[in-house]
């Protein structure tokens, strides 16, 4: 498929997800309260969306930004669940 065909196929879906994302940010701000490491992580990930093509895909770069980059195993598992972003990121 060429770019026009890809855009024809996926634009409306991408548009919908973008609006959902914008509405989520509005909703979080409207709710007030302290900021959250997950929101920091999202904001850092946004920078990948508009960058020029590079060695890594944007999807890969976003996932890396949301990931735990450490290499040592944990002494003990702190529960079972995951949150979607790593709290250790600045």
């Amino acid at each position: 498929m060429n770019r026009r065909q890809i855009v024809d196929l996926y634009f409306l879906e991408a548009r919908s997800k973008l609006i959902d994302l914008a509405a989520f940010l509005d909703r979080a701000e409207r709710a007030g309260g302290e900021d959250d490491f997950r929101m920091h992580a999202l904001r850092a990930a946004f920078t990948q969306l508009l960058r020029e093509p590079g060695e890594k895909s944007r999807a890969e770069s976003v996932l890396l930004l949301l990931s735990d980059p450490t290499v040592e195993p944990l002494a003990q598992a702190p529960g079972k669940g995951a949150t979607g972003a790593w709290p250790g990121n600045p």
Binding site: S57, S67, D68, L74, A77, A82
Partner: protein, 267 residues
């Protein structure tokens, strides 16, 4: 369209889903041992679960014309309790020769702890000793990158394990490359929110090629879709991929990997 569902937790699904799978063209469903959503209290709980996987589920699937296969292990979420885990691993040999058992899985990591690693290594040793295929779960969300690296280190350090006999599941864009580069198979799990989408899975296939990749739904007791694989097949067709390639990805590839087990026999 014919396809194989290589990763579905059918013990948590009703017969409505078996019917849907059969109607969608599924000919075989493969079920790794997993976390039930709560911690089992004793090895006896796992004994009963292994009986369910090797006796009851194949009968349930057969009523809908589906073959049912399974994998055995103690899952990573219950591996923090090393004593329990070792007792469960000791149960596996008495089930391994049952006719629908494909190998050891889904082993792996959850929060990337030392105890989880220890039990992963014990499973890998068992698989090596018994000559079994291995199916690996990579952790969720922010833990996936670190966990995949740790898992690859364990597997690469075990010379008795051949990479072509291991499938590392739930890969995403940031882990698929390292798994394929190491010679392992890579599975893409199609979840509504927390793993791959059909569109992204097709992107990965278009980027990395079709070799040593499969698609699965990993449908379970959580938010998941048992028809995710046929929906991904539809996505492939939408992108213009020919029927032969779709068949290769959703039928040929799983058949190729799973046929390495002498127990996997399609009619």
């Amino acid at each position: 369209m014919r396809y194989i569902e290589p990763h579905a937790h059918m013990v948590s699904r009703t017969t409505d889903d078996y019917e849907r799978l059969a109607l969608a063209g599924c000919c075989a469903v493969c079920e790794p041992a997993f976390w039930a959503g709560f911690d089992r209290s004793s090895p006896a709980g796992f004994y009963d679960y292994f009986c369910q996987l090797t006796e009851h589920e194949p009968q349930r699937a057969a009523k809908f014309g589906l073959q049912h296969y399974c994998w055995l292990c103690i899952n990573p979420k219950e591996s923090e309790d090393v004593k329990l885990a070792e007792e469960v691993i000791a149960l596996i040999p008495q089930f391994i020769k049952r006719p629908n058992v494909l190998g050891i899985g889904e082993i792996g990591l959850n929060k990337n702890s030392r105890n989880e690693l220890k039990i992963l290594e014990a499973h890998v040793d068992l698989a090596a000793r018994l000559g079994q295929l291995v199916l690996v779960h990579t952790p969720h969300l922010e833990d996936k990158l670190k966990g995949t690296r740790l898992i690859l280190d364990v597997l690469r350090n075990e010379p008795r394990i051949r990479p072509e006999r291991v499938i590392i599941d739930h890969v995403e864009e940031h882990t698929v490359g390292m798994v394929l580069d190491a010679g392992f198979w890579a599975g893409m799990t199609l979840y509504p929110e927390t793993k791959c989408t059909p569109a992204r899975a097709v992107d990965i296939l278009e980027t990395y090629g079709r070799e040593r990749l499969w698609l699965n739904s990993a449908c379970d007791w959580g938010v998941s879709d048992p028809l995710a694989v046929p929906k991904a097949a539809r996505e492939l067709k939408r992108r213009g991929h020919p029927e032969t390639q779709v068949d290769e990805i959703v039928f040929g590839n799983p058949k190729k990997f799973l046929s390495q087990s002498p127990n996997f026999k399609l009619p």
